[in-house]
């Protein structure tokens, strides 16, 4: 039995149970229980109609839970009633679930957790492992998130942008434990792209594919970070790159540019270069100009300074850096890089060491420390 095939059915099954009259929180619990049973039963007795099997099992779980709840409260109401007539297939339940789980009333972390469970079909334990928190903590986070959206009508259309932010957060969490969140984010974005023809959904999907394609080359065998310029491009996944380029081209052809498309275009230009020296930095600077125009983001300006340094020389890069807030994350690392290229290894070594002290992740700190050590060794020699 393929676990990811099973998980793909989850949002649609939740939708059916909700349409039959269950509230979202109860439906979601019932489907999780049905999944557990599926994992136990299917290997010996695979169903002919997996989705139908899950709907039946989940509806039974829902009724069991509702009965237990009722007898606990000594109340007898609205349990065994006829299922409410469904509204047919006109509304895409899966799409509605994306909106509900990314509802603006949720904090980003709650939206992420709820999306992974209700849309992604992951168990609470898997989500807890991926985010390195105890299972009980994650369970609380999810049940609070469900309470928060309990008043939201299931058929309310939401904002695609909020869904994209949630999926981007999941993607950026990367991978640890037995759940590859980057791969899961790609699966969920792909599934969303099938259901909506929004160009930024395609933009985000392309961005994820193009970055994911480089993953095998991004770390060395000892786990150390390998910068883009030094990556073995033979390790890049050409199939993912080809798919990313196709998705991006189709999105750009619609002529409604957004930040994810712009970021994907930059990733595409890197993917296009067979060697680092062949990178089209002039075009990359132009895309960063678009990105800055679209977002005004200081991080985009900082990355633009790196690109300017490659396109027009380190001096121009340093000039582009002037005016940015030195407190920006990675500002010092960028300045160190540009100083070295500008022929000032003493300042670069000092700045790399300073950047290492304020790095927020271990691989990044190690990388920056190595850069400082490399320059210091050269200065001593």
């Amino acid at each position: 039995m393929n676990e990811s095939l099973l998980r793909e059915l989850v949002p649609a099954v939740i939708g059916v149970i909700v349409r039959r009259g269950a509230d979202f929180a109860a439906a979601e619990d019932a489907v999780q229980d049905a999944l557990v049973e599926a994992v136990r039963v299917w290997p010996d007795d695979p169903p002919r109609d997996p989705k139908g099997w899950l709907v039946t099992a989940a509806w039974r779980k829902f009724l069991d839970a509702a009965r237990a709840e009722t007898s606990r409260r000594h109340r007898e109401e609205r349990v065994d009633g006829e299922p409410e007539p469904g509204q047919g297939g006109a509304v895409d339940d899966t799409l509605q679930l994306y909106f509900l789980c990314a509802h603006p009333s949720l904090t980003p972390a709650s939206a992420v957790a709820l999306t992974l469970r209700a849309v992604g079909g992951l168990t609470t334990r898997q989500i807890a492992q991926a985010y390195l928190v105890p299972e009980a903590t994650m369970a609380q986070r999810i049940s609070r998130a469900k309470r928060t959206v309990s008043g939201v009508r299931f058929n309310q259309t939401g904002d695609v942008a909020t869904v994209l932010r949630v999926l981007y957060l999941v993607f950026n969490e990367g991978y640890s434990g037995d759940v590859d969140l980057a791969a899961e984010a790609i699966r969920l974005t792909r599934q969303l792209a099938v259901r909506t023809h929004h160009e930024e959904v395609a933009g985000l999907l392309a961005l994820m594919l193009l970055h994911h394609a480089r993953r095998p080359a991004r770390t060395g065998p000892d786990g150390r970070l390998v910068p883009l310029a030094e990556q073995d491009r033979g390790l890049w996944d050409t199939r993912l790159i080809a798919e990313g380029l196709d998705v991006l081209q189709a999105a750009l052809a619609r002529d409604r540019l957004g930040e994810f498309q712009a970021q994907a275009a930059i990733a595409a230009l890197h993917a296009d270069a067979q060697k680092a020296e062949e990178t089209d930095w002039v075009q990359i600077v132009e895309w960063y100009d678009e990105l800055v125009r679209l977002t005004g983001s200081p991080v985009a300006r900082l990355n633009r300074a790196v690109a300017v340094g490659e396109a027009d020389g380190a001096r121009a890069g340093l000039a582009a850096l002037a005016g940015l807030d030195p407190a920006l994350p990675r500002y010092t690392a960028v300045e160190a890089y540009l100083r070295e290229r500008d022929g000032d290894p003493v300042a670069a070594a000092r700045l790399y060491a300073e950047a290492a002290r304020s790095a927020s992740s271990l691989p990044e700190r190690d990388h920056l420390t190595r850069q400082a050590a490399r320059l210091n060794a050269r200065l001593r020699g």
Binding site: T137, R141, I142, R144, F171, Y175, S176, L362
Partner: protein, 135 residues
């Protein structure tokens, strides 16, 4: 989300506002303090923000390797060690501001006279082990 370590010091932090040693509190004041700490942890567990917490005994030992084939050397406790950790709590919260807010609440645990201790807690962000999936 970001993880933070909240450190409570026996020694080494600046003096609390309500700076009376615990052994001089009344038993009721000690109970009230303990209850406050338990309630605080329970509330964070309920909001899905608690990762773990633990109190530590004050007596510690320093240990170092003494070379291959030899047992490790132990020493201490050293009276002059200026820093002494009393306990820690790990939280996983939405923002730095939320971490500061929670540390502030924990610092206001009641002490002598039932008044808040206003002790200094140290707040340290965790270093992430992973790389962003985007470069």
């Amino acid at each position: 989300m970001a993880k933070y370590l909240l450190l409570k010091h026996y020694r080494g932090a600046p003096a609390s506002v309500n700076d009376v040693p615990m052994e001089q509190w009344t038993p009721e004041e000690i109970s009230a303090h303990m209850q406050y700490m338990r309630d605080f942890a329970a509330r964070l567990a309920g909001t899905g923000e608690l990762v773990d917490h633990q109190a530590l005994l004050p007596e510690g030992t320093f240990v170092r390797s003494d070379g291959e084939g030899r047992p490790p050397v132990t020493d201490g406790p050293f009276a002059e060690t200026k820093d002494l950790i009393a306990g820690w709590m790990v939280i996983d919260v939405e923002s730095y501001e939320r971490a500061v807010e929670l540390a502030g609440e924990l610092s206001a645990a009641p002490g002598a006279g039932g008044e808040p201790i206003h002790e200094w807690l140290e707040l340290r962000p965790f270093m992430s082990e992973r790389l962003l999936a985007t470069e």
